[in-house]
């Protein structure tokens, strides 16, 4: 894999706040045109990593290369190459769509002509149909996110960092937003996205799972599933009403590899042994048992619990 095919190269990156490692010696890379998912609980170090990659925070150790530039050339070089949509703030509510966009364009030093071209292109891309002088506060949440995305890609960056872009919008708006993300990737942009939604994580080409400042897993969703669950996973549907005591008994059974509630059902994996097979048979009397492929949620619960033990 040549250097030029990598959009982001992170080597031994750590960020220390006082004695605390927010990011603890991580190494990874992101390919050009890839949709790269970044997952983890709040405080796992996702946003800190993104802030470094956007040139907002200097690394304590290690090096980063973003679109071919690193901190050696100054953070301004990084800033001009990436687009960033933060989770907290998207657009100024008391400004109109046009004012917001032209403000961003001025900060990005776009000429008036380039700005109008890019604006019309992007607004068309997100199918924005409202008047340009509508106030941002009057836009529905989903549209707001889309305009916010428009603002972050106005300068045609090679890489777009999206920090929880779909938090708090309707499922329909989320689907629409992800269609835009896929379109952007198809145009050759690299998308670096954090999310809490597993269905969104499934749409990433590769995902990294962060926990207490480290990356504990990084692969394609399919590989992660087969790595973490080499054996069959079953969905157990209790036929009758399973009592709490009964469930606790099953959960702690030594022949179970994995057992987690999933709505009213349960996801389970059994030990590869004669006893495991026997226990599976025993359970199939009380539960309707279906073979399934594990969800990403199963993968993460298992990975995180595995680290906790």
């Amino acid at each position: 894999m040549g250097e030029s095919s990598l959009a982001v190269v992170v080597e031994d990156l750590s960020v220390k706040f006082g004695d605390f490692y927010a990011v603890d010696h991580i190494t990874f890379s992101v390919k050009r045109g890839e949709i790269f998912g970044f997952l983890g609980a709040n405080g796992a170090g996702k946003t800190t990593t993104i802030r470094v990659l956007c040139g907002l925070l200097t690394p304590t150790t290690g090096s980063v290369q973003v679109a071919g530039v690193g901190f050696e050339t100054g953070e301004m070089a990084i800033k001009s190459k990436v687009g960033y949509m933060s989770q907290k703030f998207t657009l100024y509510n008391d400004l109109t769509v046009e004012e917001n966009l032209s403000f961003t364009a001025s900060l990005r030093k776009l000429s008036a002509e380039t700005y109008r071209e890019r604006r019309d292109f992007i607004l068309n891309f997100i199918s924005f149909k409202r008047p340009l002088n509508s106030f941002v506060r009057d836009l529905p949440g989903g549209i707001k996110q889309q305009v916010s995305l428009a603002a972050s890609i106005l300068h045609d960056p090679e890489i777009v960092f999206l920090d929880e872009p779909t938090a708090g919008v309707t499922p329909a708006a989320r689907a629409r937003f992800w269609a835009l993300i896929r379109d952007l990737a198809a145009q050759g942009k690299t998308i670096f996205v954090t999310t809490h939604y597993m269905d969104e994580a499934e749409q990433c080409e590769r995902i990294a799972l962060m926990r207490t400042g480290r990356i504990i897993a990084l692969d394609t969703p399919a590989n992660l599933k087969s790595e973490v669950f080499p054996d069959q996973v079953y969905e157990l549907d209790p036929e009758g009403r399973a009592s709490y005591v009964q469930m606790q008994g099953i959960r702690n059974h030594s022949e179970l590899d994995f057992f987690e509630p999933y709505g009213l059902r349960f996801h389970a994996a059994f030990k590869r042994s004669a006893e495991g097979e026997a226990f599976k048979k025993e359970l199939s009397r009380d539960f309707k048992m279906t073979r399934i492929s594990p969800t990403l949620e199963d993968v993460f619960i298992r990975l995180v619990e595995g680290k906790d033990r």
Binding site: C54, G55, L56, L57, T58, E75, M76, K79, S80, V82, Y84, S86, K88, F89, Y92, D94, L95, E99, S102, F103, T104, S106, L107, R108, K109
Partner: protein
């Protein structure tokens, strides 16, 4: 470093939109100066007039009647003749009168025989804001009275004190207060609004977005502060015009010197507001600290209402680190006395030094905060 006016301009323009579209800021920016000028110009009266004065004339001679007449015709007092010193006391206690003048029997006789003569003045000390003015009126009128008695050739070779109030002959408190308002109004606009504006960006996370673009810290500072600098200067112009036209206050000094003082003071206070904003990053806290460190000292410790000279030693020295105190001197002297730049050298040097310190600290701290 590549400072771009276009970027600073874009930030300034956005800031103007924020101000124009936020009713609270707009009210603060336009309403407050107007309100302050109105309140301090009309409602608050430091001149004391029509004081009810109980007079007991125990002498009932021509001389004593002349003294009573002098008080009555002065315009400051409403004379209320009483029959005994006790009744005068009761009037003061009952809030009917503010003060009493007691002329003892033998007043004229003592005066003409060359012995010293005394009359007593009783003042209601429970309202000490009126005591000072009353006392000064009493002594003035006393002098006038003694001059009037002069054609009676009192043999005593007493020294006749003559007081003339320079620069503000009528001792009109408005002449004194309105120029000082320039300081207070500028303090509100510069410290409070600047403290709020940067804190707002931190609070709602937009600072992060600003910083994710290749914008320089200096461009943010200039862009953020410029609108409030213009607003501050506009407020000064407003107070100046009102002072000259509505209140007819003279402006004796040089507009250039006064303008220089305004610029220095504005820069110092904008820097202070910026510093507060960067240090707190919260609008509520920034507002409170802005009021505590900018507004209150400008009103209470600058000499606006309470003269610095009469403060306890500690505060007298403490006020030296307040830009408002020095600018107060510059504003008043420019309006009323026409003092030149060199004559106000001390005030200008102090203000320049404070301004330099504040601007340096604020911009350093701000840059340090924004750099990754």
């Amino acid at each position: 470093m590549s400072f771009l006016w276009s970027r600073a301009g874009a930030i300034a323009q956005k800031e103007v939109y924020h101000v124009l579209r936020d009713p609270f800021t707009l009210t603060l920016a336009i309403g407050l100066p107007v309100f302050m000028v109105f309140v301090f110009g009309y409602a608050i009266e430091f001149n004391v007039k029509d004081i009810h004065l109980a007079i007991h004339d125990g002498d009932q001679t021509r001389t004593s009647r002349q003294v009573v007449e002098a008080f009555g015709s002065s315009g400051y007092f409403i004379v209320d003749p009483v029959s005994s010193p006790n009744q005068a006391m009761r009037h003061i206690a009952g809030d009917q009168d503010r003060a009493a003048l007691l002329i003892p029997g033998g007043f004229q006789k003592d005066l003409f025989s060359g012995r010293s003569t005394t009359a007593q003045v009783l003042l209601d000390g429970s309202d000490n804001s009126t005591v000072g003015p009353i006392l000064s009126y009493v002594s003035t009128i006393q002098n006038i009275a003694s001059v009037k008695l002069g054609d009676y050739t009192p043999p005593s070779s007493e020294i006749v004190l003559k007081t003339r109030f320079l620069f503000n002959p009528e001792l009109n408190s408005r002449w004194f207060v309105i120029p000082g308002l320039v300081v207070v109004v500028m303090a509100i606009l510069s410290v409070l609004l600047t403290a709020l504006t940067v804190a707002r960006e931190w609070e709602n996370g937009s600072m992060e977005l600003l910083l994710s673009t290749p914008v320089e810290p200096l461009e943010i500072i200039v862009g953020k502060i410029a609108p409030y600098a213009v607003l501050g200067m506009a407020a000064v112009a407003f107070v100046y015009v009102i002072a000259r036209t509505v209140f007819g206050i003279p402006f004796e000094g040089s507009l250039w010197v006064f303008g220089l003082g305004c610029v220095l003071f504005l820069a110092a206070y904008l820097a202070q507001g910026l510093l507060i904003s960067v240090a707190t990053r919260k609008q509520q806290l920034a507002m409170q600290i802005g009021i505590m460190s900018g507004l209150l000292p400008a009103q209470l410790l600058s000499g606006f209402i309470f003269p610095v000279e009469s403060m306890p030693a500690f505060f007298r020295y403490f006020t030296m680190i307040l830009p408002a105190r020095w600018f107060m001197t510059i504003a008043r002297q420019s309006f009323l006395k026409g003092t030149t730049l060199t004559e106000m050298g001390a005030a200008f040097s102090a203000l320049s030094i404070l301004c330099l310190i504040l601007v340096r600290t604020a911009s350093k701290r701000f840059k340090k905060d924004l750099e990754p």
